[in-house]
């Protein structure tokens, strides 16, 4: 990984990539008529920093390269984001994105491991990705590889017991090359998390499970990169970056309405959204 200071030029480049990814997500989900654009938008800048900010080591033409860093999209409903990122990173042809949720397409509603190159795990039933990440950590030790394992968690997902089973185990195994990033957009399917099933105090919860905790502005790629650099130096325990985000980030009327969680924008809404996204440039 590079130093912690991200240059203005690089920030501008990453912001442009994030914009293009959001446009792809919008196009995919609107064309499919369903999907989770708002959950994808909230994590777009985080995943942009990982794949295009010189953080993840990967070879798009060799998806099972044994030395690769792992990225596991535990919040599987952000599949459109994962697909858009993988296509841009060169794992497969971008044209495939437009087949999202169509019969015979590997671009499935939620990610299926290896059905598309670069998809590390089958997710969509929430709570499972962190455990799989620990398996990659233990496997890396046995294989004498020094890769890092990144797991993107949803916030509502942290209501699942398995997350805390994994939190306990990662700490027990001193998994210091495991980095969880929490896309903390404060909303779950049916409403605000604080109303539906309170998660706070989150920092203290993770700390009490033995994790190093950082907080970040999940839409500031420089801040995300800086926090990633900090946690890469932490030894003997896993780290989590609690990234504060806005669900639907980039499109005002999606940001303002959590019921966009599980639905796509209509073509008319998408047209307005496209203009708004371009306006953020």
């Amino acid at each position: 990984m590079n130093g912690t200071i991200t240059s203005k030029i690089e920030v501008d480049e990453l912001r442009e990539i994030a914009l293009q990814l959001r446009l792809d997500i919008l196009e995919m989900t609107t064309k499919a008529g369903s999907g989770h654009p708002s959950s994808s938008f909230s994590a777009t800048d985080i995943v942009t920093a990982l794949y295009f900010g010189d953080v993840l080591r990967y070879r798009a033409r060799e998806p099972h390269w044994p030395a690769r860093d792992r990225f596991i999209m535990s919040k599987g409903h952000a599949a459109p984001l994962l697909y858009a990122v993988l296509a841009r990173a060169g794992y497969f042809d971008r044209e495939m994105l437009w087949t999202l949720r169509q019969v015979d397409s590997p671009v499935q509603g939620h990610p299926i491991q290896d059905l598309l190159p670069g998809v590390e795990a089958t997710t969509g039933s929430l709570g499972q990705g962190l455990s799989i990440g620990i398996g990659h950590v233990l496997g890396g030790r046995l294989n004498k590889r020094d890769y890092d394992v990144y797991v993107l968690l949803g916030d509502g997902e942290c209501e699942a017991g398995q997350i805390w089973e994994a939190a306990m185990a990662a700490s027990h195994f001193k998994a210091d090359n495991l980095v969880a990033i929490l896309d903390y957009n404060k909303y779950q399917e049916t409403g605000p998390i604080s109303r539906e099933m309170a998660l706070e105090p989150l920092v203290e919860k993770w700390q009490s499970f033995g994790w190093h905790v950082e907080e970040a502005d999940g839409h500031n790629v420089a801040d995300v990169k800086e926090k990633l650099a900090i946690v890469s130096e932490i030894k003997d325990r896993p780290s989590i970056i609690i990234a504060h985000t806005i669900k639907g980030k980039g499109v005002s009327f999606v940001e303002a309405d959590f019921t966009f969680h599980g639905r796509a924008l209509t073509p008319e809404q998408a047209e307005i959204a496209r203009e708004e996204l371009h306006g953020t440039r």
Binding site: P66, I112, Q113, D114, E120, A121, T122, T123, G124, S125, G127, Q128, G129, L130, S131, I132, G133, I134, G135, H136, V137, L138, G139, G140, L142, N143, G161, Q162, E165, A166, M168, A169
Partner: protein
Amino acid sequence: MELDKEAGLKPYPLPLRNVFGEALLNVARENERVVVLDGDLGNSTKAEYVRQNFPDRFFNIGIAESNLVGIGAGLAACDFIPWITSFSSFLLCNAYDQIRLAVAMSNINAKILGSHGGITLGKDGPTQMGIEDLALVGGLPTFVILVPSDPASMHAAVEAATEYVGPVFLRSSRVALPEIYSMDDCPFEIGKANIVRQGGDVTLVGCGIMVAASLRAAAKLSDEGIEARVLDMHTIRPMDIEALITAARETGAMVTAEEHLLHGGMGSNVARVVSQSCPVPMRFVGLADTYTDSAEPEDLLRKYKLLDDDIVDAARQAVAAKAG
């Protein structure tokens, strides 16, 4: 004992779970890609034999089956062959969704050991018993399902499961099972049932402990002039359709016997094959829709009608129902 001798069964001193532990240790010794994950029951499942010999390749994940399965899936993605071990009931009931997504749907090379299958774990009672495990794993399309019937076939099954590339569920038992095969002569091919007794009047299809029970039943039936064929259906999926059709055609009647709920178990799957391709009168020995008590295995087998005499009764009925 006299009956067992007549049925071709030899007593074996070790419980099947200990045999599993030995078999697992063997494959771990032969293949350094084998890793073992434990849900804090290694002393019961006997996966601990690997811990004692290869501690670096043994991980106790604690009492957290969901996490156990997920970590196993991650190890499989790193080209290890994880044996994920615990009681059958705890793994399939606690971690069904993880087994479904991370193992079955992902079609990874992981092995699930479901120990203490059936009711013969006995005194610990129904909370610990895996009486629905075959139905549950049957709901996961990519899984091979193995239920070995004796010590030699347990060894063979563990080897075959480790060699096979893909998800495998293997059921083990707390109790000792008599020898049907010998250690140096145990045919075992995934998906190929073994004919362990020839006969032309009725076919007894068993798995696990019910193969020995079927052989005892066949010995008793022989005294009445009924010659039973006995099939060791050690693989529930993929099912040996050819062996079933041949047996149905040649014997004209069939009884299935399993230490499992009748609903969704081996028998219902056998019936699906037979009724479609060569319908013959069938009877089913297994657990009715009920949970059992905490008691000695023998008392439970008697109360819930999983003994050789129950197979004999079922066979008489099936034979009597033959046309003409």
